[in-house]
Amino acid sequence: MPPAACSKGSNEMTFKSNRRQFLFGAAASSLAIAAASGIGQAFAQDQQLVFWSQLAGSKKAAGEALEAAFKTAHPEIALNSSLFAEPSQLNEKILTAINGNTAPDLFIQHWDYTLTYSTGDKLADLKAGLANVDFAGLDASLLAYGNIGGQQVSVPLYGTSRGLGINRKYVTEAGLDADKGPQDWAELREWAKALTKRQDNGLLEVAGLSMFHNDLETWEIFTLLLQGAGGTLFNDDLTAPAFGGAEGLAAINFMFELLHTDKVTDLGFGLGPGGSASPINQGRAAMIIAGNYSTNNALKAGIEFDVLPIPMEKGGFTSLVDPFSFAVTKASPNQAAAVSFIEFALSQEQQVAFALASKNVPVLKAAQQDPTVQADPFLAKFIKTASFAPPKAAAIPAFSRMVTIIARAVQETLFKRVTAEEALKAAEAEVIAVLAR
Amino acid sequence: MAELQLQNVSKTYGTFEAVKDVSLAIEDGEFAVFVGPSGCGKSTLLRLIAGLDPVSAGTVAIGDKDMTARQAGERPVAMVFQSYALYPHMSVFENIAFPLQMERRSKADIREQVAKAAATVQLTTRLQDKPNKLSGGQRQRVAIARAIVRKPEIFLMDEPLSNLDAALRMEMRSELTQLHKRLGSTMVYVTHDQLEAMTMADRIVVLNAGKVEQVGKPMDLYHRPANLFVAGFIGSPPMNFLAAKVTGLEGGTVLLEVPGVGQVALPGDASGFTVGGDATIGIRPEAIATAAPTEPALSLSITPRTVERLGLHTIVYGEQGGRTLTALFNGDPVIAADAPLGVYVPLQQIHLFDAAGQARGHRD
């Protein structure tokens, strides 16, 4: 009943508004009823779809284009979407709504939140739901982040991947081959040392490698190095942590040496949270762990930015992907409409369009290899680095908890509060306790 | 040798002249009262003496030392404020001790001085109380004690009694007079109340619009006011003024035509008058009598409109020649309202003022 829904929406608004807005709202809702009944005669809009979206910021335009295209393609579905500026904002809304049965039919959110929601059995299994989607055609690394307990609780629209972001000018000036890049940790270390610039008094001018600026980035660089040393965060069935072994130690020790022995960066200057601008954009770092989101700002800042794959300890490359995923609530009365939207968004045409507009890695493998997508130099590079990501993901409900625990362990070591062994041991014990709950 | 010497002292605030060229000497041990209507500059003058405000021009000397450049607190004066200005967070003891503590005196010395001052003002039993526990009179005493401990050369008092009720005010008036006698120090006392001035002062300074109108002993001001302002200000009820025209000047006599009264010849200094010019005669209410005196007197008929009987006196507001005359009679004479009453004023007791308001022909 779209006309009723329209007028209800308007009335709700007027409750909070002043009299003038009330009159305007009343007029608007009358018009809406008239218009909707007119359209209703032409198209039978008999399906509702409430969609909460976090496609804001750099992906706002791409998200709007996707919704507009969907409306044109599916006039029978009345799409009612709300945009949330921050993942945390959407999270607060969903957590309170999911319990009061006012949750949307469909939402798109940073993947780790969907794992939390799935613990209450609140999300539909999309493996069965998306009948028209060929899961084999989707990027396995990205897809893994929505797979929990054999269920596909979320399906990515796109993801970002991690590479080594470099300042080509500094690299070339240091006599290094910016096209080849470091091939193993030893070379990475040589690069970082060679690219570090300090004044005579020791004042840092350019960090050879900027490591992290917040807890999430701390977790990322640790995980990338852990993978580089051949380790994983968890055992195969995700029941126990595995980062506390020799590989984890190697990862932390490598960071420790870069920081304290090679002094490729300083606390506050490419190490530690805060700061309103990325050091690479200011020419204060030669290398960072970069994602798709890094490109635009670096180029805008006039940096000769480039992306290389992240080397492993003894050769080969690794990466992480970070998907943004759709989820459908189990209680939704409009699951069919929600599935239509996801299927539409996973089509070749929409995947290519979204990737080009947002500069993110599409989940559809065919779209990744689309010539127009490959023609975008940076997009192609991040699609390439995404291919180095392991097909397995740390898809556990307590993921955000684990990020904090690991970040804390790494930082405590780097700030020399505890040894790497102590930090990792304590972190593993904490993760085990969290998993047990 | 004068204790307090003001020389050509002026104070201006922007374009407003609060004190205009005042020169004044107060003798050692004297009780001087500055009196005048509100806004006359008497409090400002006191603040200039205290050093709370800097003078705009002139000098202030105390005991022969020039104090003009010294700040408040560096002058040998103590002040009692109209509001008492006690420190509300301190006990009576701490209030009195404060000036001594500022002099960094020893604890024992402070205790002794405070005890002495408290005894002088009979507050020994209230030393631990906070000011808000005290009555108005007691607060007043604390303020006085706080002034006493400084052992100032001059006490300055800014309308110290105006916040008290009438009975208490009378009591404190005599207490202050006695205190002055006991301490023997110089006091400068500001009031708008001529009664306080008359009863307490050794010498009164009458101020008006920032200027000194007259300085003198209370009875001198009463009997020989220098001008219309002083004549009207000193004495209660105030003096009656009757406008007159000068019709002739003969030697030491001024001939006047007083409307509603007729021809009057008064002894006076002719130099202030011109024939046909204006003059004013002043008659104190208490100079009016119902019985004809033996000496030459002016005879008038007044019609009493209001009769106020106070027991000791009777005040009559009567109509005479289209104006109101105030008369004060001793005791409780039989006077009927609205019935004409013949009265007499001895010529000797009539004050004569020239067109500029200056007294010409002082009478006793």
Binding site: L95, I98, G268, G272 | L52, M79, E103, R146
Partner: protein, 300 residues
Amino acid sequence: MALQSSTALARRPQSFTQNWSAYAFLTPALIILFLSLLLPAAATVVMSLTDISFLRPTNFVWFDNYIKLVSDSRFRQAVGNTAYYTVGVTLPTMALGLLAAVALNGKLRGRIVFRTIFYLPVLTSLIAAAVVWMYVYEPYSGPINGTLTQLGLPPQPWLQSPNLAMTSLIVMAIWRDFGTAMIIYLAGLQDIPKDIYEAARLDGAKTKDIFFRITVPMLSNVTFYLMIILIVQTFQVFGAIYVMTNGGPLGSTETIVFQMYQTAFGYTEFGYAAAMSTVLFLAILLFSIIGTKIMRRGES
């Protein structure tokens, strides 16, 4: 006796009627207060006795959450951080507010301009102020490090160092709050009669004596009032931390309310967060009661 009781009887119905209309006027406010404050507060206390997550089925765990709090080292760190922040903000804010108020209470030229400038930060949006201060503390291009570098001093990681971050947040909070303290102190100073200052000057008190012996003690009620509102306010600090440091580095800026938020919305442990909230509420209540008692004693 008989007379007294009859007047008491006569008064009672009147005061009841007066009260009745007073209650009638209070009712809308009371209803709003009940729905928006008391009901959620009571619900929080109930929630603190459960393992509510809004996702999984809820069970009563009674005092388990509180027992867990006692041994939770992260919560203890948050309590310590909050206490440091509270003391660090409250005392300097009051001291600076008092100094500014005393300076601007006199006849200083341009005092209106200064008052406005000092009060302006109070009016800024917290988020906007936080973003500006992130720029101020920016390690590469921020004005503070820029100045230090110009002077040949080493730049500091203001928000990046676990040793400096909380202090940096405190400095910002002082900048933002001392205008409030100044305005309240100014109002308090206006209540001190001019006569008392003049009496003190005549008593030989110097500027320093007047400040410590007259001004400060006469403002003691204002000081207590300010202290209580600042303590209650700083106990609940969240916004600036959420924007500027997210509790880092190394949890050095994690305060009770920030941890509450993270526990509730990050880890979906709403029951445990409710227990933290209840503890915080009790602490604030305790401070308010102590403060009120001290103020009452000061008045008598």
